[in-house]
Assembly symmetry: C2
């Protein structure tokens, strides 16, 4: 019974994520969303309740996808420490891909909404903490495999790592060229690898 939906919810959320990621919460208008989702205002509200709620759904998508990608990458790398270093080098390879030439959406959101949308900001802080936790797990894994000294504070390393990721994404956003991106990523990656215990 009943009429089937014309739109593909998954595709619509993907599209919403991209516009929001690119323009931010405040600069994205309902008109922008109507165009991107190819849906009329009534349908958007029927499906997603409000602009803010749609934003939260898009953000959740971004978060889950980022963490999943990171975990998948770590899962097929024999050395966790190398995996972490490679994750940083990966950003230098995004130079061509224009859709990814952007700041981290979580970073962006926190900046956009701290002063104006406490609910979104609070959720974002949680996501950022979760991402940091995933990074910390990577370092813990490295420690368990004997790549790091047993006294290593993985939480501290994770915070620094997150800083490196932010810095790289910001450089992408800035438009920094391939060569500079590569050398910056390489330096940050080497810092990670330098933590490895050398068999003396």
């Amino acid at each position: 019974m009943s009429r089937p939906t014309r739109y593909d919810r998954d595709a619509a959320l993907d599209a919403a994520m991209l516009v929001f990621w690119e323009k931010g919460f405040h600069a994205t208008s309902l008109k922008d969303l109507e165009t991107a989702l190819d849906m009329k205002p009534g349908s958007i509200y029927g499906a997603f309740s409000s602009k803010e709620n749609l934003y939260l759904l898009a953000l959740d998508r971004y978060f889950k996808r980022s963490v999943a990608r990171f975990r998948a990458h770590m899962a097929d790398t024999p050395s966790p420490l190398t995996g972490l270093a490679e994750h940083l080098r990966g950003f230098a390879r995004m130079t061509q891909d224009n859709t990814s030439r952007q700041v981290c959406m979580l970073t962006r959101t926190l900046i956009d909404t701290t002063a104006t949308n406490p609910e979104i900001a609070a959720r974002t802080k949680q996501y950022l903490a979760d991402v940091r936790h995933a990074f910390a797990e990577g370092f813990e894994h490295a420690k368990a495999m004997g790549e790091l000294p047993s006294h290593t504070d993985c939480a501290v390393l994770a915070r620094r790592f997150q800083g490196s990721v932010s810095a790289l994404r910001f450089e992408l956003h800035l438009g920094t060229d391939q060569a500079d991106m590569t050398s910056l990523a390489e330096e940050l990656a080497r810092d990670i690898e330098a933590l490895r215990i050398r068999a003396t």
Copy 2:
């Protein structure tokens, strides 16, 4: 001749800088500015032409003040390398000061305006490059004083240094507590000091 202005242009620009810095370009409304500057719309437009122009004036102020502060700090530090390290440690001491618990306004602006206000974004990119140049000068000075190897690439160090500053400011924005701020700043500062040539 003629009627004198009721407002203090300098104070008004300071106030504008603070609101814009806190809320960003898009989330700051004329109402917000009327309140912050204690001026009526007509006066604001008489004095500053447009919201965008006022933003550019506020941004310019932020930029000049930041660079001046950095240069002044470096000028009264005998060792440039220590000065750079101390600059990073300084951010951990901002934990109390709520007005400064924010991302760098240049970072914020670039993110806010890249997709929507090309003119502001272009100006911001220039400012960010100028700041990086000021950092590079600090490293050059350190090199000239024999604190760094003569083959050191100061431009690369400056880019990393700017990344560290961004990371610290972002942690402030996030609300990271005093202890974590101090340890993060300390680590980043030590990385700078570790570059120093050791008298062997």
